[in-house]
Amino acid sequence: MSNTVKVFIAALIVAACLSPFASSFPDGLERVAEDKGFLEKGEGKEVITSPIPDYTFPGVRNGVLATSTAGVLGTVLTFGAAYGLGKLVRKKEN
């Protein structure tokens, strides 16, 4: 197995197996927004509606599975996007 594939598999394992057990505490910015009273400035202000909000795959009842699925999908999607970008911005052969 190629060395780069091992890292991709590690990414998929993290997305599938670790992401459902992520801490649900607010992150640093959310904590500050809550404590300092400006969290509501962001409520209902979303400009777009994303297909998989909050890393929960819609329609999947089981919460662990919904997060896992979203994680794996996002990981593959991100790989594709960055790979595609790489193809566009690579060094041109002379």
Binding site: D27, G28, D35, K41, V47, F79, A82, Y83
Partner: protein, 218 residues
């Protein structure tokens, strides 16, 4: 620290979009000079790994969590130009597909994490890795580069929130910096562990690293 819609006023989000567009244009130009074909899969895989790792929030003190930023990780392994492109890709996917970070705040989020975070990681790492020798020295340099990248990115967010009159700078600064100095410790530990892991499996060879602009053979 993904800023949602509603936190930044128009002048701030337009300015940060312009700054990020400039930084991305520069990265793309540079990339076309240095990015070799064999590095393209690594660009994709590093972005995928950072996306996955960013989902895993770890608890820190006071009912707060943090997650990996990955700016130092990408920069140490693949250089600042690829680092900026990788982080930007992750942020765009998170914003469009997962509602993580607002569309109006995307310029700000890219500027804080993919530009400020990457530049800070690059500067701190390339300065320290020269000064502190050996494997331990390299790990210390990676840790401090990671820690600083999170704190400086948080500083960027603080300035943008204050410029938007969302929160006064004097209130935001100690709160944002304090919390991200803690989150930065997690960033440092994870980055050191992941860099050592991916180098052990042979993800990046030395030539690739020197060509991407990061000197690690010190």
């Amino acid at each position: 620290m993904h800023i949602p819609d509603g936190f930044l006023d128009t002048k701030t989000w337009v300015s940060t979009y312009a700054l990020s567009a400039g930084a991305l244009a520069y990265s793309i130009k540079k990339s076309k000079e240095v990015l070799e074909d064999k590095l393209i899969p690594k660009l994709g895989i590093m972005a995928a790994f950072i996306f996955a790792a960013q989902m895993v929030n770890f608890p820190i003190a006071g009912g707060t969590s943090g997650h990996l930023l990955g700016a130092a990780l990408a920069t140490v392994l693949l250089g600042p130009v690829s680092g900026c492109l990788i982080l930007s890709t992750v942020l765009v996917i998170q914003c469009l597909a997962f509602q993580d970070g607002g569309l109006t705040a995307l310029g700000g989020n890219i500027f804080n994490m993919a530009v400020l975070g990457v530049i800070t990681a690059y500067l701190v790492y390339s300065l320290l890795a020269k000064v502190i020798p050996g494997t331990t020295g390299r790990n210390i340099s990676i840790f401090l580069a990671s820690w600083s990248s999170v704190v400086v990115a948080a500083f960027g967010a603080t300035v943008e929130l204050a410029a938007s009159n969302t929160i006064p700078f004097s209130v935001a600064f100690p709160a944002m910096i304090g919390i991200h100095m803690l989150i930065g410790i997690g960033e440092g530990l994870i980055t050191v562990a992941v860099v050592n892991f991916v180098e052990k499996v042979g993800f990046v060879d030395a030539t690739a690293k020197s060509k991407s602009g990061v000197k690690t053979n010190v």
